[in-house]
C-alpha cells in the first residue's frame, strides 16, 4: 500500500533525516496552501475584464474623443455576457474551494460571498426606487457608477479585514477613490473611470495575486 504513495517514490519506512523532514514539511505546506486557498485573482480577473470591456463599451456609445462609436445594443450585450460569465466563474470558484471543508472559515467565506449578492440586490432596489422619482438620465448613471464602486470598495475593505490582507484593503480604498472620482467626472467620463480605474484596477490586482504566492493564513 505504501508503495503506491506518490510522494517522489519515498516509501513510508524510509528513515527521514532532520533536513528531509523540514523539506517535506515545507513542500507539503506549500502544496496544501496552493490547493486549499482560493487565489483572489480568480475573482478579480473575470470581474476586472467585465468592468474594463463592459463599461468601456458603454463609454464608446457616447460621442467622445475616441473615433469608435458603438450602438447601445452592442454595449448592452457585451456587458450582459461578461457579467454573466464573471458571476458564473465566481460562484464555481467559491463552491469548488469549499468542497469537502466545513468549519468557521467556511462559514465566514459563505457569509462574505452572500454580502456581495445581498449588497448589490439592495443597491439595485435603492437606486431604482430613487430613479422612479424622476431623475435626469445623467444623474441616474452617476448614481449607479458612484454607488456600485462605493459598495465594491467597502466589500474589499471588509475582505481585507476578514482575511487579514492589507492589499485587498488597499484595493478597497482605491475603489472608494474611484467611486467619488466617477461622480465628479460627469457623463460619459464616469464610464471611463469605472472601466479604467475600476476594471483596470481589478486586473492589476489579479496580476499581483497571480505573481504573488498566496500567503498562509489561520
Amino acid at each position: 500500500m505504501a508503495g503506491r504513495d506518490t510522494n517522489e517514490g519515498v516509501s513510508d519506512d524510509y528513515p527521514l533525516s532532520v533536513g528531509e523532514s523540514l523539506a517535506l514539511i515545507e513542500r507539503q505546506q506549500r502544496e496544501t496552501q496552493r490547493r486549499l486557498r482560493v487565489n483572489p485573482a480568480m475573482f478579480y480577473g473575470p470581474w476586472g475584464a467585465a468592468y474594463l470591456l463592459g463599461f468601456g463599451s458603454v463609454f464608446l456609445t457616447y460621442p467622445t474623443a475616441v473615433p469608435l462609436r458603438l450602438p447601445g445594443a452592442v454595449a448592452a450585450v457585451i456587458i450582459g455576457v461578461l457579467f454573466a460569465a464573471a458571476t458564473v466563474v465566481s460562484i464555481v470558484t467559491g463552491v469548488r474551494a469549499g468542497r469537502g471543508l466545513r468549519g468557521p472559515s467556511q462559514a465566514a467565506g459563505a457569509m462574505y460571498g452572500w454580502s456581495w449578492t445581498l449588497g448589490f440586490c439592495t443597491l439595485a432596489a435603492v437606486n431604482n426606487g430613487v430613479t422612479r422619482l424622476g431623475l435626469p438620465h445623467d444623474a441616474v448613471t452617476l448614481l449607479w457608477s458612484g454607488s456600485s464602486l462605493l459598495l465594491i470598495g467597502v466589500l474589499y475593505l471588509a475582505a481585507g479585514a476578514l482575511f487579514q490582507d492589507r492589499f485587498q484593503y488597499g484595493l478597497g480604498l482605491w475603489m472608494l477613490v474611484s467611486a467619488a472620482t466617477s461622480v465628479f467626472a460627469g457623463v460619459p467620463g464616469n464610464f471611463a473611470v469605472v472601466s479604467l480605474a475600476g476594471g483596470g484596477g481589478l486586473l492589476l490586482a489579479a496580476g499581483y495575486f497571480t505573481l504573488r504566492p498566496p500567503c498562509p493564513r489561520r
Partner: protein, 109 residues
Amino acid sequence: MSAIGSLPGLDPVIHAQARLRVMVALAGLSTGDQITFPRLQQLLDMTAGNLSTHLRKLEDASYVQITKAHQRRTPVTYVTLTEQGQRAFADYTTALRALLTAPTDQLGD
C-alpha cells in the same frame, strides 16, 4: 523504524513521511475547520487504504479527531487536528529545528 532510533526526541507517531504529510495538511486548515476524507485524500495523493491506516494511528494517539456525519443521507467522514495534535506537531517542528542547530556530535549520543 530505523529513523526513530537515529533521531532522539522526535515523536515517532509523526516522524514517518506519510503521517508527517497528513499532519502538515491538517495543520494547514484554518483553526476549527474540518476536511472530508476524500478531499484530504486528494490533497495528499494517497490511496484510501493508506490514508485510513495512518489516520487510525494518528487517532490512536489522539492527534486527530474523526467525525462521521450524514449529508443528504450519505455518510461523510470529517477529519481535523485535535488540540493535542496541534501541540504535538508544534513540538515536533520545534524539536526538528533544535536538532538542526544542535552540534552534530550530540545526535550520535
